[in-house]
């Protein structure tokens, strides 16, 4: 009897998740698609002018799209080597005592509110970057990307470390028996064997970086030009939504355009997840042989 109640509860909970997800997709489509009758999809995607409060308004989101790509690229470029290196150190090299202290500290980084990361970026990182690269302003995609990398680091370290630790110890023992050094074991045995988990970790990190809003709103600079390099001020898609949605009247053109950006963000994270799935699948098949 109790079993059936519990099963029903779980079923309802999972059903709720699916219903909420479908609801969100339906909402994004319903609110976002009408903008394409005002601005055709290609003009929306490849337009470089975004003037939502002008008469008549213009909606082109290329600057936001490119900014998101830059910020995510910087975050990934910083977080992946550091994160995977850290995970390899923790699982392969560090003594248990060190691992037990370092891992919780890194996980603590995930608990920092994004607005705090924004503050730190604003006060410490952006002046540093400005003087280091002799920029006009330290508020730029590079500063935002570096702060985002700190935020996706805990995910990458934790998930990669779990993947590395899940490898059977026989793999390493066999390599050592063949005379491999510690570095060779990490480089040629552990990391390749755990690649599926590491790939998943990286994808999760990228997903975090694409969707993060507060930090980029505070330190990415918010310029409307299509950024040619990460050291320019820029406005990623999430900040564009956040800085415009309050002003948009429900159902108005700007409101629809912002929902369409949200829709695109959703499609992008969905694509990242699908790619991650594919990579995982392929790795699994490779090791099943």
């Amino acid at each position: 009897m109790g079993e059936r109640v519990i099963e029903g509860g779980i079923f309802l909970a999972s059903l709720l998740a699916i219903v909420v997800l479908l609801g969100i997709v339906a909402l994004l489509l319903r609110q976002g698609l009408p903008i394409f009758s005002y601005t055709p999809p290609w003009a929306f995607m490849f337009g470089t002018r975004w003037y939502p409060v002008s008469e008549p308004p213009t909606f082109g989101i290329t600057p936001f799209f490119v900014a998101t790509l830059w910020v995510t690229a910087v975050a990934t470029a910083v977080a992946v080597p550091v994160g995977v290196g850290c995970a390899a150190y923790l699982s392969e090299v560090a003594r248990p005592a060190i691992r037990e202290t370092v891992k919780p500290v890194i996980e603590l980084l995930a608990g920092l509110p994004s607005v705090v990361m924004g503050f730190i970026g604003l006060l410490l990182l952006s002046p540093l970057i400005q003087s280091m690269f002799n920029l006009n302003t330290g508020l730029c995609g590079l500063a935002a990307g570096i702060m985002l990398s700190l935020m996706s680091l805990p995910i990458i370290v934790t998930v990669s470390e779990d993947a590395l630790r899940a490898i059977p110890d026989e793999f390493r023992q066999a390599a050592y028996a063949l005379g491999a050094t510690k570095w060779e074991v990490v480089r040629h045995v552990s990391i390749p064997a755990a690649l599926s988990g590491i790939a998943a970790a990286i994808m999760l990190g990228i997903g975090r970086a694409i969707g993060e809003t507060m930090t980029v709103l505070m330190i990415a600079g918010g310029a409307l030009a299509v950024p040619a390099s990460p050291t320019e001020p820029m406005m990623p898609m999430t900040s564009a939504i956040a800085s415009g949605i309050g002003n948009a009247v429900r159902g108005g053109l700007q409101y629809q355009a912002l929902f369409a950006i949200g829709l695109l963000l959703f499609v992008m994270t969905l694509a990242v997840n699908l790619i991650a799935d594919r990579v995982l699948e392929r790795q699994k098949r490779k090791f099943a042989r």
Binding site: I6, G9, I10, L12, A13, L16, T48, Y51, P52, V53, S54, P63, L122, P127, Q130, N136, T137, G138, L139, L217, M218, G221, G222, A223, L224, A225, V226, P233, M235, A242, S243, G244, G246, N247, A248, V249, R250, G252
Partner: protein, 295 residues
């Protein structure tokens, strides 16, 4: 272990139900009781906060919630009936009035104070005065180096508020598009290299750190970490620094109204509050914040 997981799911379900209930309850919050909300302009916020505190001291049974995400946000909230008073640093647009009327909301305008918009730079910047035409050229991206306006050989970093802000719209119309001048051009827009910032204090902070920066802000936000620029209407006019005096006698060119919008003429507790704001005691507070009284 199995048991614990189930419990957590139930907990999540209950939490979601509570959340939905809470959202539903706040959704139907209106003017009932002695609580009301003011939202909108980041510029008017310090003034509204001061007024709300003083009024709540006089009338302890009243509670007023003030927030300042931007004028456009306030007006959008009034149109959607999610606020009682919208504070704004720009006039409501005809398109917004139309949207409001379509939703059965009738915006009623009350002038509560005026503000001089200060143009600020880093204290080390040798430039002390600019014409509106020069400011327009800086913000549209035609002038990109401080040398072109008599400063050092440094690139200009133009900072602005984002589109949520009434100051953004006022500055665009009066400075970028040069409204009221012979060179008035409605097709001018902020240039692509202007940085749009989420709050006025963020802009002041960046200006205080960055010798290349230029920014604009309501007088109440100007600190001694930044230098205020004298503004000339045209090259032939005298350069005037913003202050309460130069705003009152209208010699400073960048003066704008600070407004409250309500749905229809205010009644009850909201009328009492607005009467207080416009009373001599309320208008004295305007000077405390650094704005200009209108009564």
């Amino acid at each position: 272990m199995y048991h614990r997981v189930i419990k957590r799911k139930w907990f999540a379900l209950v939490a979601i139900a509570l959340l939905v209930a809470a959202v539903a309850l706040t959704g139907c919050r209106g003017t009932q009781g002695d609580a009301f909300s003011i939202t909108g302009s980041n510029t008017v916020q310090p003034l509204s906060t001061l007024w709300a505190e003083a009024f709540m001291n006089q009338r302890p049974e009243v509670s007023i919630a003030v927030s300042g995400p931007g004028s456009g946000v306030g007006i959008a909230a009034l149109i959607d009936s999610t606020t009682d008073i919208a504070q704004s640093s720009r006039l409501i647009k005809q398109s917004e009035i139309d949207q409001a009327k379509a939703k059965g909301v009738n915006p009623y305008e009350i002038l509560v104070a005026a503000d001089a918009l200060a143009v600020v730079v880093h204290p080390s910047n040798p430039v002390t005065e600019l014409t509106i035409a020069q400011l327009s050229a800086i913000y549209t991206g035609q002038i990109t180096n401080w040398q072109e306006v008599g400063g050092e050989n440094l690139p200009i970093v133009a900072l602005s508020r984002d589109t949520n802000s009434g100051t953004h719209v006022f500055f665009k119309e009066v400075v970028v598009q040069m409204e009221g001048l012979p060179t008035h051009d409605k097709s001018l827009e902020y240039g692509p290299n202007v940085l749009f910032l989420p709050s006025t204090s963020a802009g002041i902070e960046e200006t205080a750190k960055n010798p290349r920066a230029i920014f604009y802000a309501g007088l109440a936000y100007v600190t001694n970490q930044v230098e205020t620029m004298a503004v000339k209407k045209t090259a032939d006019d005298p350069a005037v620094l913003p202050s309460v005096e130069t705003a009152v006698d209208l010699t400073y060119p960048l003066v704008r109204p600070l407004l409250y919008y309500t749905n229809g003429e205010p009644t009850g507790i909201i009328k009492d509050f607005i009467d207080y704001c416009l009373s001599p005691a309320g208008q004295a507070k305007v000077l405390d914040v650094g704005y200009v009284p209108v009564q």
